[in-house]
């Protein structure tokens, strides 16, 4: 008999966690079980899912991006100002930002720098730029972004439909394409990738550019939902995105990631907040309680990993 693959086991946990939270919410507030209820519940799902995927791409090459939140905030500020007033310049700014990410990835590969230090430094750069672009909260969302984000597909709310679409696209790109294999190969065994004649330098650069593209999409969609921006709008996305990847079955090193898992992880974290609100946990305690949920789920993950190992030995 064929045992379920370890990948399937890893994916099972975030799905079960999401289902458990959803059921909990439904039990407490049955009226959430409607189009409108789900719409509100998953409203912020798309930007969080995109941010988590961006982080996942970075983590698949054994790096970590601590500037994710401030980069997305910067993108949001550009979206709410330049992209509205002068779309061409705005788009150009975002392209340069993506190119900067690619360059960072190549510098990290070339000099063997720790990505944590480089991105921590960059987080202040992005935060500063965001304040320069938009000194006080405000701005408006480009009309086309608002139109997309406020669409109400008949089948399911936008937050869910968008998340599914993003998960499928990312799965194809990272898990199925040659490009994705190369990137995860760099995470798995950099030397053997180099020995096969690939340039690890360019592979890392491409991974960072891909991550930046996801992050730009996260920033733009976030503004579409909020209809305005400020320089601190997405700061908590740094840690949320890392937690989402790990929750979704990813590892910090070794190139083991899952795109679908990451999206599930992101949505689980999103629901954890609502769940606590419905439980009437006071906002003062919510962040702590969210942390507790996270620890609980990760402990389960360790347990599963142990089962997996024992299963292999037997």
């Amino acid at each position: 008999m064929r045992r379920p693959s370890s990948e399937a086991l890893r994916l099972a946990l975030p799905i079960m966690a999401l289902a458990a939270l959803l059921i909990g919410i439904f039990v407490m507030r049955p009226n959430v079980m409607s189009y409108n209820g789900l719409h509100l519940l998953f409203k912020l799902g798309i930007p969080i899912a995109l941010a988590t995927l961006a982080q996942m791409v970075i983590m698949s090459v054994n790096d970590l991006d601590l500037s994710m939140g401030s980069f997305i905030s910067f993108v949001a500020c550009v979206t709410a100002t330049w992209l509205v007033d002068a779309p061409v310049i705005g788009a150009l700014i975002l392209l340069v930002a993506i190119a900067t990410y690619a360059l960072l990835g190549m510098v990290i590969a070339y000099r063997g720098l720790p990505s944590i230090v480089v991105t921590l430094g960059m987080s202040f750069v992005w935060a500063g730029l965001a304040v320069l672009v938009l000194p006080t909260p405000g701005g408006t969302a480009p009309a086309w972004v608002t139109a997309i984000m406020s669409a109400r597909p008949a089948a399911m709310p936008m937050g869910i439909a968008g998340s599914i679409l993003i998960a499928v696209l990312a799965h194809i790109l990272i898990m199925r394409s040659s490009f994705g294999v190369l990137i995860r190969g760099v995470g798995g065994n950099e030397r053997s990738v180099a020995r096969a004649g690939w340039s690890v330098l360019w592979a890392r650069g491409a991974a960072y550019a891909t991550a930046a593209t996801f992050a730009v999409a996260a920033g733009i969609t976030l503004v579409g939902l909020m209809t305005s921006a400020d320089a601190n709008i997405a700061l908590r996305y740094t840690l949320l995105s890392i937690a989402g990847v790990i929750l979704g079955g990813g590892e910090f090193i070794g190139g083991r990631v899952s795109a679908i898992g990451a999206v599930f992880g992101a949505l689980t974290l999103l629901l954890a907040g609502s769940f606590l609100t419905f439980l009437k946990v006071s906002p003062d305690w919510q962040i702590g309680a969210q942390g507790l949920i996270l620890i609980l789920i990760l402990a389960l993950r360790l347990l599963l990993a142990r089962l997996e190992r024992n299963g292999l030995r037997a």
């Binding site: 693959s5 370890s6 990948e7 199925r176 040659s178 294999v181 190369l182 995860r184 190969g185 995470g187 798995g188 065994n189 030397r191 053997s192 990738v193 180099a194 020995r195 096969a196 004649g197 690939w198 070794g254 190139g255 083991r256 292999l312």
Partner: protein, 478 residues
């Protein structure tokens, strides 16, 4: 015309001369057996040929023309493939995905099915009846299966046909049947006009399959003859096994057991270490020896509260990974494990620390003008001595050593062996994992590992290279 022609290759790593003027021609249709002791320069030569290392002197020609900028890409484009001693696939990817990475020409829509047929075809040809699922993740495969995949990968053809395949200890984790299948493949491959360079410590394999045998020693080629001109003993002689000055095995009266570990399964050997013994952990690399050392360490060292009298201490083998503190001085690196003995009321006694370090500098012969120099100013061998001094400086009665002599020169080794014997005679216990059989012969008792378990226990004069190899390779005489 030779497919690869290396002329007067010279490579140095710091003070160590790895290749000292090596010239080698590899022609199509021949299998070159490359033999030599550890550190003879075989791996360096292989890395030169596959483009991973750049020559500091000398030149490489391919098919008669000089190649000025030789590198990995050039080598691969010429049909050169390599199976490395340490497995070099991506463990997080499936076999199909690894195939895609290895063959740059496979890209485009539908690469999965193409990669699948390429690797399946090669696996079926070399290892008929292999039962390996190409969609499996490499990390979940057994070690022998991984090696099979790697070999099949090297011989697979996806656009650029392999012409020269270098096999570096390819049979180290294959059983007799699989090894025979591989050797058959080598014969078939050279008959079809390919070339193979085979490195193996199993001389019988080399003798049976090679057309020409090249013997290396100390970075030079010392003999090069058709295989028919060599016999088993002639080959050993040519490698020039230095008559080893074996530190006499002092038969210390076996003391009390200081460390025991039950075998995880019934019917296997338990681990016992007695006072004053030097215990060897042998077998092929990566068969559970390091895990055993770590288990022994965890068993005896409390996780929560450090003890003033540690029961065990550890000498790391991978110096850069978990041995030295890069940025610290030699002195700090020496005393870090015994700081509690060198301090009073929580404060470190500088004078006691300096005294202890100076003491060890003399006893173990650390070659440095000043113990306050950075640790990285020392040669590898001397860094290793510092790690020994660190371990011996504690009061731990048991010392665990994880292949500590990797990349250490012969002179240093002899000095350290003497220290180990002296400390053992004084009542300390050593548990010593080494991949070098010679070192195992210095031990009082040896446990041989295979697939994570102790499969044999050898004592005293029964510890021979043959006995260890026989136990490491299930039922297979070396």
């Amino acid at each position: 015309m030779p497919v690869i022609d290396v002329t007067d290759a010279r490579v140095r790593f710091g003070e160590v001369v790895a290749l000292d003027g090596v010239s080698l021609q590899i022609r199509l249709g021949e299998c070159i057996g490359l033999v030599g002791h550890n550190g003879a320069g075989k791996s360096t030569l292989v890395n030169i040929i596959n483009g991973g290392l750049t020559l500091q002197k000398g030149q490489i020609a391919g098919d008669g023309e000089l190649i000025p900028t030789y590198g990995i890409k050039v080598a691969r484009a010429r049909g050169l493939r390599c199976v490395f001693q340490e497995l070099s696939l991506c463990p997080n990817l499936s076999i199909i995905e690894n195939t895609r990475l290895m063959h740059r020409t496979l890209g485009g829509w539908g690469w999965r099915s193409r990669a699948r047929s390429v690797i399946s075809h090669s696996l079926d040809q070399i290892f008929p009846g292999h039962r390996i699922d190409p969609t499996a993740q490499v990390g979940t495969l057994a070690i022998a299966e991984r090696q099979m995949v790697e070999i099949a990968m090297a011989f697979s053809d996806a656009g650029i046909a392999p012409r020269l395949v270098i096999l570096d200890e390819p049979t180290s984790s294959l059983d007799a049947g699989l090894a025979a299948q591989l050797l058959t493949q080598v014969r078939r491959f050279i008959a079809a006009g390919g070339a193979v360079v085979l490195i193996s410590h199993i001389l019988q394999e080399i003798l049976s399959v090679s057309t020409r045998i090249v013997v290396m020693k100390d970075g030079r080629i010392v003999a090069e003859r058709p295989a028919s001109a060599f016999t088993h003993s002639g080959l050993v002689e040519a490698m020039g096994s230095v008559p080893r000055e074996q530190a006499a095995r002092t038969r210390a009266a076996a003391g009390d057991a200081v460390l025991t570990l039950k075998a995880p399964r019934q019917g296997r050997h338990d681990f016992v270490a007695r006072k004053g013994e030097v215990i060897g952990l042998a077998g092929l690399g990566g068969h559970g020896q390091t895990d055993m050392l770590l288990a022994l360490f965890d068993l005896k060292s409390p996780q929560w509260l450090p003890r003033r009298d540690p029961a065990v201490t550890f000498v790391a083998g991978d110096r850069r990974l978990n041995g030295v503190f890069d940025l610290w001085s030699i002195l700090r690196n020496t005393t870090i494990a015994s700081l509690q003995d060198l301090s009073g009321r929580g404060l470190l006694n500088d004078r006691a620390e300096a005294r202890s370090a100076a003491d060890w500098k003399d006893r173990i012969g650390i070659r440095t003008p000043d113990m306050h120099n950075k640790i990285l100013s020392l040669s590898g061998g001397n860094q290793q001595k510092v790690l020994f001094a660190r371990a011996l400086g504690t009061r731990a009665p048991v010392i665990l050593m994880d292949d500590p002599m990797r990349g250490v020169d012969v002179g240093t080794k002899q000095e350290v062996y003497a220290i180990i014997r002296a400390e053992a005679a004084a009542g300390r216990t050593f548990v010593w994992y080494s991949t070098e059989t010679e070192e195992m012969q210095l031990c009082d008792r040896v446990y041989v590992f295979r697939e994570g378990l102790i499969v044999a226990e050898l004592t005293g004069d029964a510890i021979t290279e043959n006995a260890i190899l026989r136990a490491s390779f299930r039922d297979e005489a070396a």
